[in-house]
């Protein structure tokens, strides 16, 4: 008879890959002449429970994706996802981190090329929803900074902020699919690329569309660049970039969590 490690390893194979042969020998066979379940059927209860609850977790984490492809297709797709990328942590609130790359390779979803980016947006939304809270920041603190030291400032944006870009208008798609009724709304794919900041100030996640330069600037700040070095990089690539306007936009929307000076 197998030890515990092998029993669990074989049980895992039975659940994820329907390879029951090794585990069935370990499970007590009931007297089937009085009816009831065979060993295979008992294993199926566990397999179904695992798949149903994990597919439900994915449907919760990707509600717009679910609306876009329909419940039935989503169920099929999610089942394949669970098999290919089962969770490696008991925290299911952000389960599905590999959904975008999974969809890129999922042939059956090929007619909807923007699905992967919608999934990316939904995952980042979850990251922001569950991400660190920000303490709140008093803008007066920035006004006190000696103007000569301004370029050494490392500005910290909200700690739950996520950034993404897509060649598709994924925000329009996402907004149109917030309810079942909206799912029939047509989105003009010709509206082209979008750049987004996803963040949470109190309890509500917000999504802000950005122009390409602001998106790049937010990215530099997120990477811990000083204002001075961010400005140098920005003016090289985006000659029309206006630092003052960009900072005003950030302050007006309360996106600052704090700042420090480069050492």
């Amino acid at each position: 008879m197998a030890g515990l490690f092998d029993i669990q390893d074989n049980f895992l194979s039975a659940i994820l890959e329907s390879r029951n042969d090794a585990i069935v020998d370990e499970i007590l066979e009931h007297d089937l002449s009085v009816g009831g379940l065979s060993v295979q059927e008992r294993l199926n209860i566990y397999r179904n429970n695992t798949f149903i609850t994990l597919k439900r977790a994915l449907a919760q984490n990707f509600p717009v994706l679910c609306r876009l492809v329909g419940q039935q297709f989503f169920d099929h797709m999610a089942g394949e996802y669970v098999q290919k990328h089962p969770p490696i942590t008991p925290l299911l609130m952000t389960y599905g981190v590999k959904m975008p790359e999974f969809l890129d390779d999922f042939d059956a979803a090929g007619s909807l090329p923007y699905l992967a980016d919608v999934a990316r947006l939904e995952h980042l939304w979850n990251m922001s929803f569950n991400g660190p809270d920000s303490e709140g920041f008093d803008l007066e603190e920035l006004n006190k900074v000696d103007p000569e030291k301004f370029e050494d400032i490392i500005l910290k944006l909200l700690p739950n902020m996520q950034l993404m870009s897509s060649i598709y208008p994924v925000l329009d798609i996402w907004l149109a699919n917030q309810t079942e009724e909206g799912a029939s709304t047509t989105v003009n794919l010709e509206r082209g690329p979008c750049h987004l900041a996803i963040y949470r100030k109190a309890q509500e996640v917000e999504i802000m569309p950005l122009d390409p330069a602001s998106h790049a600037f937010f990215g530099l700040l997120g990477a811990g660049k000083t204002l001075g070095s961010a400005l140098v990089q920005m003016t090289g690539k985006y000659p029309a970039f206006n630092l003052q306007e960009a900072l005003q936009n950030i302050m007006r929307n309360n996106l600052i969590a704090g700042f420090e000076f480069a050492k």
């Binding site: 515990l4 609850t53 969770p87 490696i88 925290l91 609130m93 809270d133 309890q203």
Partner: protein, 291 residues
């Protein structure tokens, strides 16, 4: 407000906290009748860094005693505990200071994969040693006692050479942890495996039981035989209420949780289930006081 922050779980009925009910609980306040004695949460649901789950739990924690019930430590895993997860549990336990912390006598992780289910263990000396070592490790790391819950199951392993209540008693004796006695699980497993539920309960030691769970289950028919599925999606059935009544008659009153995790009903339904448990608890409380 806030005066019962670190109180132990009272010997009355609590209910499982669900996001659907956050706002209603806050607007009711802790004195609304029928009174909610305490709340239990799934530990893992509060292990994100921030956001609404913490916002609401912080507020509700100020008014009610709290129990944290984990589903992810996988006590019976052969290849060792997930230490990242254990650290996460410690963080959230340190933050909310729950009166009770519990886990399950089962496994859910193999080769690092989390199956999101509570799978039964073979009851052998090897499993006992592994499970006890993990419970010791957890209790040492958290610096406190935990409770472990008896499982529900749909299959048994050939290699088991101990009966479930004996296996549980060995764990409790070896580790000093307490028992979260899930009366619905006892009923479900006994029905599914042809065991005697009253005998099962009578073999447990009343002083080890720190909490009781009550939940609903469903029944499926297969070729003339019924199988009970522990799905926490309905009212507690009459047979389980009767077994609970029997349990209290042996053990005296114990903090009792109404668990309802699927098809979540209106808060009032949970409060009414809790009231039904309170009626039985109060009767036993009176009997204990007068006897």
């Amino acid at each position: 407000m806030g005066n019962n922050n670190f109180d132990p779980i009272p010997t009355n009925a609590g209910i499982g906290l669900k996001p659907q009910h956050y706002e209603e609980i806050l607007s009711l306040g802790p004195d609304a009748s029928p009174k909610i004695g305490w709340f239990e949460v799934h530990t893992e649901n509060y292990m994100g860094a921030g956001g609404p789950p913490h916002y609401y739990l912080e507020k509700i924690r100020q008014d009610y005693p709290l129990s944290m019930h984990g589903v992810g430590l996988s006590l019976g895993t052969a290849d060792g505990l997930n230490l990242d997860h254990l650290r996460g549990v410690k963080n959230v336990v340190d933050r909310y200071q729950p009166a009770l912390v519990s886990e399950h006598i089962s496994w859910s992780i193999a080769n690092g994969v989390y199956l999101n289910d509570l799978i039964p263990l073979p009851y052998t000396a090897e499993t006992l040693q592994i499970t006890c070592a993990h419970i010791d490790q957890i209790q040492n790391f958290l610096g406190r006692q935990i409770l472990v819950e008896n499982p529900s199951s749909y299959l048994l392993f050939k290699s088991s050479n101990m009966e479930e209540p004996d296996f549980i008693n060995e764990i409790l004796g070896n580790t000093g942890c307490g028992l979260l006695l899930d009366v619905n699980n006892v009923y479900v497993s006994c029905q599914n495996h042809g065991w005697d539920a009253r005998d099962y309960i009578s073999r447990l030691k009343p002083e080890t039981v720190g909490e009781i769970h009550l939940a609903g289950h469903s029944v499926k028919e297969w070729r003339g035989q019924s199988l009970r599925i522990d799905d926490h999606g309905s009212n507690v059935c009459n047979e389980v209420w009767a077994l609970y009544d029997y349990t209290l008659s042996l053990m005296g009153p114990k903090p009792t949780l109404i668990e309802w995790d699927n098809n979540i009903p209106a808060l009032m339904t949970l409060r009414q289930e809790a009231e039904r448990a309170n009626t039985l608890l109060n009767r036993d409380q009176c009997a204990k006081n007068s006897g």
